[in-house]
């Protein structure tokens, strides 16, 4: 898998997307958009929460064959995003609190989202078939 090692600053999302798109460029636009949204949500989460107050390092790996696989690795605080509760989607605009949607959307947009904690690292693996 090709990998990008990058500081976990929210503004680095542009570089992360460019790296992912250099692998997904041949896919239909709709597939690229869905993947980009998932990458935005996960990288933004890591940038905001993994290392608390200061930026750390994330490793992002991409492989494209009959599926697109994207792996996010950080050495920050243990955090399993897919263990969070689902947002309430039936509330009116007034009742809704901001946030909580990113991980939910990622799970809907991808075929699988898997988390593991290994050697002091958070590893989140996204997969999406491209048949």
């Amino acid at each position: 898998m090709d990998e990008l090692i990058i500081e976990t600053k929210p503004k680095n999302l542009s570089r992360v997307l460019a790296f992912v798109e250099s692998h997904t460029g041949a896919l239909p636009k709709k597939s690229q958009y869905r993947i980009n949204i998932a990458v935005d949500e996960i990288f933004t989460n890591i940038s905001n929460y993994a290392y608390q107050n200061e930026p750390g390092i994330a490793v992002i790996r991409v492989a494209v064959n009959d599926a697109v696989t994207i792996e996010f690795e950080d050495s920050g605080v243990p955090y399993n995003p897919i263990a969070q509760t689902e947002p309430n989607l039936t509330q009116s605009a007034e009742e809704r609190a901001p946030g909580g949607l990113g991980v939910f959307m990622t799970q809907k947009l991808m075929d699988t989202v898997e988390y593991r904690r290994e050697g002091g690292k958070n590893i989140l693996t996204l997969k999406k078939g491209v048949s």
Binding site: K30, E41, T90, M105
Partner: protein, 103 residues
């Protein structure tokens, strides 16, 4: 992302081209903060919008809340991918999606 605003009396049309994501959403939020006072009809034209992430959805939600207190809001020219996002997040029930660029 490019934002184009057209004000006609108290009716504002906001057209967005590109991506409404974590990086660009604050820019739209700022534009709306300065433009929405006094507006009674807000229309978003998404013809040139590629996609939005949850950061973009938050800005849309905020605009909807504000327009609920001062008029109404519509969203038009929604692509398949964006319609899918609105559906999966329940935003379809919160916002008024119109089938063309119309009023």
């Amino acid at each position: 992302m490019v934002i184009n605003k057209q004000l006609n009396g108290t009716e504002l049309t906001v057209s967005i081209a590109g991506r409404l994501d974590t990086i660009t959403s604050p820019q739209l939020e700022k534009e709306l903060e300065s433009s929405l006072p006094g507006v009674t009809k807000l229309h978003f034209d998404f013809k040139e919008l590629e996609y939005l992430s949850s950061a973009g959805l938050r800005v849309m939600l905020r605009a909807q809340k504000q327009m609920n207190t001062q008029g109404n809001m519509t969203v038009g020219n929604v692509s398949d991918v964006i319609a899918e996002l609105f559906d999966m997040t329940g935003f379809t029930d919160i916002m008024t999606i119109v089938s063309n660029a119309g009023k």
